[in-house]
């Protein structure tokens, strides 16, 4: 009996060793460059392009989730608010409102704090989702600790291109996050581990995922998104608010956002003949403090009706 036990145990050892050898082939390894190293690499990197118009824009497929390469191999540009690795996209030539969800994963005590820049057809900045508009999202077993924001863009002459990068001010900040041990304690009803939560440095590189969805097909997504989304601010307003990037931890998106975005979205919905969506948007705008949006929509409907 003992000999047979030993034989089976040795077989098990051999199997697991083989499995280990097989895994030496890279498999889903997420390389994370240490923050200091990526900052040094960024300082030495060459600007890819003289102007925003020269950035390498990729086409963006709606309805897909894609991992963005934001490592030291990504293109670098010196934006007006600092040098950064970036990814740039040409928005689909649709006038339908689109919902974007951008998440940046916290790994190894660091995170890429994104800024989203929207350019018009002449490559001039028109809107911006700054890093302080990204919420900290707790790990929940289905996804790790991360920064995330959801925002709506209606492609058109004023919103033709999207650039995702991280500005210099954001990289001075940090994000406090929940450790795996604390998550376990929280969901099992254990005493929470004492001591402060760990802190993630904002890094020049990171793991960022971009998801997009057409609002026409996004009925199921609509409700949760409307509940937590951020808004693409006008460039003018955001510039004055960049000092907030210095805040150590991320907080929820500011409540005071212009109704510009809502009315654009409502216009787009009306153009698409989707009055129900327009009304939902108006209601949501009212609830978020944009009083008058409902009346404005009623007026719009009156003007286009016989």
């Amino acid at each position: 009996m003992p000999q047979r036990h030993i034989a089976i145990l040795l077989s098990g050892l051999a199997l697991t060793s083989l499995a280990g050898c097989a895994s030496l082939v890279p498999h889903g390894d997420t390389a994370v460059t240490p923050a200091k190293q990526s900052q040094r690499a960024l300082a030495q990197a060459t600007d890819c392009c003289d102007t925003l118009a020269a950035l390498p824009y990729q086409s963006l497929a709606v309805g897909e989730s894609q991992s963005l390469t934001l490592d030291t191999q990504a293109p670098m540009h010196r934006f007006e608010d600092g040098a950064s690795y970036f990814q740039a996209f040409e928005l689909p030539r649709t006038r339908e409102p689109l919902t974007f969800k951008l998440t940046s994963t916290i790994a190894k005590d660091q995170v890429f704090a994104p800024t989203v820049l929207i350019l018009d057809e002449d490559f001039q900045p028109t809107q911006r989702v700054t890093s302080d508009k990204f919420d900290y999202l707790s790990p929940n077993g289905f996804a790790g600790a991360r920064l995330g924001a959801t925002f709506d863009i209606t492609p058109g002459p004023n919103a033709t291109y999207m650039v995702i990068y991280s500005n210099e001010t954001a990289r001075q900040g940090t994000t406090q996050y929940e450790s795996a041990e604390k998550v376990y304690a929280r969901v099992r009803g254990l005493a929470l581990p004492p001591g402060p939560d760990p802190i993630a440095e904002h890094s020049a590189t990171g793991n960022v995922t971009l998801e997009s969805e057409s609002r026409e097909t996004g009925g199921g997504l609509l409700t949760p998104i409307l509940g937590t989304r951020s808004h693409a601010d006008s460039v003018t307003e955001t510039r004055s608010a960049t000092a907030r990037d210095k805040q150590a931890s991320q907080s929820s998106a500011g409540a005071s956002t212009p109704d510009f975005d809502y009315r654009r979205m409502i216009n787009a919905a009306l153009k698409a003949d989707d009055i129900e969506l327009a009304m939902q948007l108006a209601e949501r705008a009212e609830r978020e403090g944009h009083s008058g949006t409902r009346a404005w929509l009623a007026e719009r409907l009156r003007s286009v009706s016989p």
């Binding site: 047979r4 098990g12 697991t16 390894d29 969901v187 009803g189 509940g227 003949d273």
Partner: protein, 458 residues
């Protein structure tokens, strides 16, 4: 065509706009449910035949769990933030636990080895009591209350969960104060005329937590006092029967615990506990609450150290635990228990890892123990597991693992004679941890199988 569509939509628009006049009042009634929980399940066999045997030293309150869990166990929880205004929040949480012997597809939850249990149903009100420091939380209902455990052997050493009420996390500048009153119940079927007549045990739990001591270190101190709350007729009955209930129903437990974070990339916890009389039992695990017994007298010392460290950053980490417990019962039914274990895990990449768990339990019974080997006995368990997980780290889940476990113990596994019900009786091995498929006189055993483990919740 266009006109007709607009004609049909205008009344809808009017209705919605009309209805929306009342909507702002309901805006904060939106509920985003929080789904949280824990689960483990798998399949296993014992070399030589039969389903998986799980190895636990008889008399020990815990066993090293990697590759050594024979049941499907799950906790499914639902909760929600119900109110959040001007800094005051009310949250609801509930949790149902399920256990089956994982022997069939269709398993009743009312069978001998199976169960469904309501474990939590409570509401917390943070900053609900004015005048208390920010973060103070009033709560009521049944709940898991600030439980302390060692994950590697599933050993709970401070756990006064149950129905209760309390106020927690009162920031006093140096740490936080927590007060709770919780209930557990027993039944004295040997003495009371009706075994359904319950003995209500009350425990008062007072903790001073988060006391800063050194960089990255914090201390917590706690006292639990429990006693049976006898009704007048129960007291009369015991008085008439000449049963002394004055001492055995009462007991207290004191806990001093220090946790060090920034400890080789992880943390270390060391705890010292002392408990008396009604808060301990000879066979059960002393966790700080009353036990439902009237005549239990003795005391218990327990010291433990456990933690998690990274030996090679992102490549090799280690869970470890060491426990010494001396339960000295007046009727000599106690025992000493020493336990130590390590679980190093090597991470081949972000997904796959190899884990090894080595655990040792030693039991030294007092002279009057019943139900298992009355002499010193010990159990050593070694498990090797190949794991696939959602990331690196000892506390990252979900995990799917293939495992092989070898265990060796002193003396016969079980008593040769079956119990009156035809079940095997414990000797060196406990019989309550699942199927008992090694021979009664075996001194070692090998099992293998697969298991998943997951927890989640935001």
């Amino acid at each position: 065509m266009r006109d007709s569509r607009q004609f049909t939509r205008r009344p809808l628009l009017a209705a919605l706009i009309g209805a929306s006049c009342v909507m702002p009042a309901l805006a904060h009634a939106d509920i985003n449910p929080n789904f949280f929980g824990y689960a483990r399940s798998g399949i296993g066999s014992t070399a030589g035949g039969g389903s998986q045997t799980c190895f636990k030293a008889a008399g020990a309150p815990a066993k090293y769990r990697l590759g050594n869990e024979c049941e499907t166990y799950a906790e499914l929880g639902l909760g929600a933030n119900l109110f959040d205004q001007q800094g005051t929040t009310f949250d609801f949480a509930s949790r149902v636990a399920y256990v089956t012997s994982q022997s069939n597809d269709d398993e009743s939850l009312k069978g001998d080895d199976n169960n469904i249990a309501l474990r939590e149903m409570f509401v917390t009100g943070t900053n609900a009591v004015s005048g208390l420091p920010d973060g103070s939380t009033l709560w009521a209902g049944k709940r898991f209350y600030k439980r302390h455990d060692i994950h590697m052997n599933d050993f709970y050493y401070w756990d006064v969960s149950g129905p209760g009420v309390g106020i927690s996390d009162i920031d006093v500048g140096t740490g936080k104060l927590n007060f709770a009153w919780v209930r557990s119940s027993g039944s004295d079927s040997d003495n009371l005329p009706d075994e359904d007549q319950r003995l209500s045990d009350d425990t008062v739990d007072v903790r001073w937590t988060d006391i800063p001591t050194n960089p990255g270190g914090s201390l917590q101190l706690g006292v639990d006092y429990g006693r049976a709350s006898l009704s007048d007729w129960q007291k009369d009955y015991y008085d008439d029967a000449g049963i002394d209930y004055d001492e055995g129903d009462k007991g207290w437990m004191g806990t001093i615990e220090h946790t060090q974070s920034n400890w080789f990339g992880g943390s270390n916890t060391v705890a010292l506990q002392y408990a008396t009389d009604g808060i301990i039992t000879s066979n059960g695990n002393a966790v700080g609450r009353s036990t439902g017994s009237l005549e239990q007298e003795g005391d218990m010392w327990r010291v433990l150290d456990s933690g998690h460290v990274w030996l090679m950053p992102d490549k090799l980490d280690l869970l470890y635990a060491a426990i010494y417990e001396d339960k000295n019962m007046d009727d000599d039914s106690g025992r000493k228990w020493f336990s130590a274990g390590v679980r190093p895990v090597y991470y081949w990449n972000d997904i796959m890892s190899t884990a090894m768990e080595l655990g040792y339990d030693h039991i030294e019974p007092q002279s009057n123990v019943a139900g298992y080997d009355g002499g010193d006995h010990h159990l050593t368990k070694l498990t090797l597991a190949q794991q696939w997980s959602a990331g690196r780290g000892a506390m990252i889940r979900p995990t799917i693992r293939l495992f092989a476990t070898y265990a060796k113990w002193s003396g016969d596994a079980y008593e040769e004679q079956l119990s009156a019900e035809g079940y095997r009786q414990a000797h060196a091995l406990d019989t309550g941890s699942g199927p008992n498929n090694v021979d009664f006189n075996d001194t070692d055993g090998l099992t293998f199988g697969a298991q998943m483990e997951v927890w989640w919740g935001s």
